[in-house]
């Protein structure tokens, strides 16, 4: 079934169609939330709540062709809520230990640290763009900011990440 048909079915409360949508988007959204929050457990929480919100809120969505943007927007808003709520927590604490069984693997620690050094808006833009492959336009809709802002966020972030990840890294020419 085409995604649009599935979504129409979900709108009518079809749980089987909903399960298919969950199957399709779940892992991608999980890794997105993880990339932004750097917390496995909170990412699972955020991911689950996003889907519940999709299930209950989809009736009010008129243009289902932009479902991908919509679901990402819910997810990203929940990630930002997470930051608001956990202001006092040391975000990404587990990253530093590098030992938790869920989280970045030891080989991924450099990447984790580099991503974590970005501010949350830039980090979100980076994950949406390079992990999910969204367009600048889509990201501007997800983050609710002008395309120019997304572009400059990405630009600066890339510069930062290059500095951190390519230090001493000999490029094969």
């Amino acid at each position: 079934m085409e995604e649009l048909e599935l979504l129409e079915a979900v709108k009518k409360g079809d749980r089987e169609a909903f399960a298919k949508i969950v199957e399709k988007y779940h892992d991608r959204l999980y890794f997105t939330a993880f990339g932004i929050t750097h917390s496995s457990w909170d990412a699972l929480d955020i991911c689950q709540e996003t889907f519940i919100k999709v299930f209950t809120g989809i009736k009010r969505v008129k243009d289902l062709s932009r479902f991908g943007t919509w679901i990402n927007r819910i997810l990203v808003n929940k990630c930002m809520d997470y930051y608001r709520k956990s202001k006092n927590l040391v975000i990404g604490e587990a990253v530093e230990k590098g030992t938790d069984e869920m989280g970045f693997s030891p080989e991924g620690i450099d990447l984790a640290r580099a991503i974590l050094s970005l501010n949350k808006e830039a980090r979100t833009a980076v994950i949406l763009r390079y992990y999910q492959g969204l367009s600048i336009k889509e990201i501007s809709a997800v983050q609710g900011c002008p395309e120019g802002t997304v572009k400059s966020r990405l630009n600066n972030a890339l510069k930062e990440l290059r500095k951190k990840l390519c230090k001493g890294y000999e490029m094969e020419v």
Binding site: R15, E16, F18, A19, V22, E23, H26, D27, Y30, F31, F34, G35, S40, W41, D42, L44, D45, C47, Q48, F51, I52, F55, D100, E101, M102, G103, F104, S105, E107, G108, L111, A112, I115, V126, I127, R129, Y130, Y131, G133, S135, L154, N155, L158, L161, R162, L165, C166, Y169, M171, V173
Partner: protein
């Protein structure tokens, strides 16, 4: 043309978003300019690593699978409420919850300190706490009449531990229901939607297809409760695992049945991981 202009195009080039004519100019410049080439390679490296982020993250497939199941459950908002069961049944439930909590928390990735934050585990832990209190009350009753007994039973060709709770249904009915539940689970693993549809109430038959989803491998039964009756509902839990995933943690299916014209029909099946 200046390097500056080409550097601004690097990101779009990597993302495959520039036109063929621009592309040609861009590539020609890269071939002739070492410093732009270096920036292109570095950006390409960074973007590639983020694109493959999943390779750098440890998370068990089973955790993702459980999360998806949990979403399904939460969307349905159909929850098994242990407190509502009558005490004997609750006693049996808390026993299984204890077993359950062990097996769930034994998931390699479920470090006990953080596990409670995972919604599924959170509700499990809450259920266990709730049941600990309940258990105390029940233990007192239990001592008096020893309603809670484990017994090895042979149901059809399956040898299984039966958790005896109360005796509100006759031996004959109990066997019929337990046998039905065992056949039902087998039909789930065969993917026999038609069989399941026939075994369900008209209302619940609609979910037949969902009930065979994700059932893979050989089913291994480990425990079944005897049948409790609450109002018109017959309740029975079965614990099982299958050979489809690497961990061999049990999970539980909670069955509700009704009797229509002398025939038992499944009116609800809930999953507990």
């Amino acid at each position: 043309m200046s390097c500056r202009r080409f550097r601004d195009m690097i990101e779009a080039y990597i993302m495959g978003e520039i036109s063929p004519s621009e592309r040609e100019l861009f590539e020609r410049h890269m071939e002739n300019c070492d410093s732009c080439m270096r920036e292109l390679q570095e950006s390409g490296y960074v973007i590639e690593r983020i694109r493959n982020m999943e390779d750098w993250v440890n998370i068990g497939k089973e955790v993702l699978a459980m999360s998806k199941k949990e979403i399904g459950k939460r969307a349905v908002k159909r929850k098994w409420v242990p407190g509502k069961l009558f005490p004997a049944m609750a006693a049996c439930f808390c026993m299984t919850v204890a077993v359950l909590a062990c097996s769930i928390l034994a998931f390699p990735s479920f470090a006990a300190s953080i596990a409670p934050r995972f919604p599924l585990v959170k509700s499990m832990v809450e259920a266990r706490e709730e049941n600990d209190q309940l258990k105390q009350q029940v233990e007192e009753i239990e001592k008096e009449n020893e309603v809670l007994k484990l017994e090895i039973k042979k149901i059809k060709d399956v040898e299984i531990v039966q958790v005896n709770t109360s005796d509100t249904v006759s031996e004959e009915e109990r066997y019929t229901i337990q046998a039905l539940v065992i056949d039902f689970v087998r039909a789930q693993y065969r993917g026999d939607v038609e069989w399941i549809r026939n075994a369900c109430t008209q209302e619940f038959a609609k979910h037949a297809e969902e009930l065979v989803k994700d059932k893979k491998g050989e089913v291994v039964f480990t425990q079944i409760t005897n049948v409790a009756k609450e109002g018109d509902l017959y309740l029975v839990f079965v614990r099982l695992n299958d050979t489809s995933s690497e961990d061999d943690a049990d999970y539980q299916e909670n069955f509700e049945l009704v009797k229509e014209n002398g025939k038992f029909l499944v009116s609800f099946v809930g999953l507990d991981a």
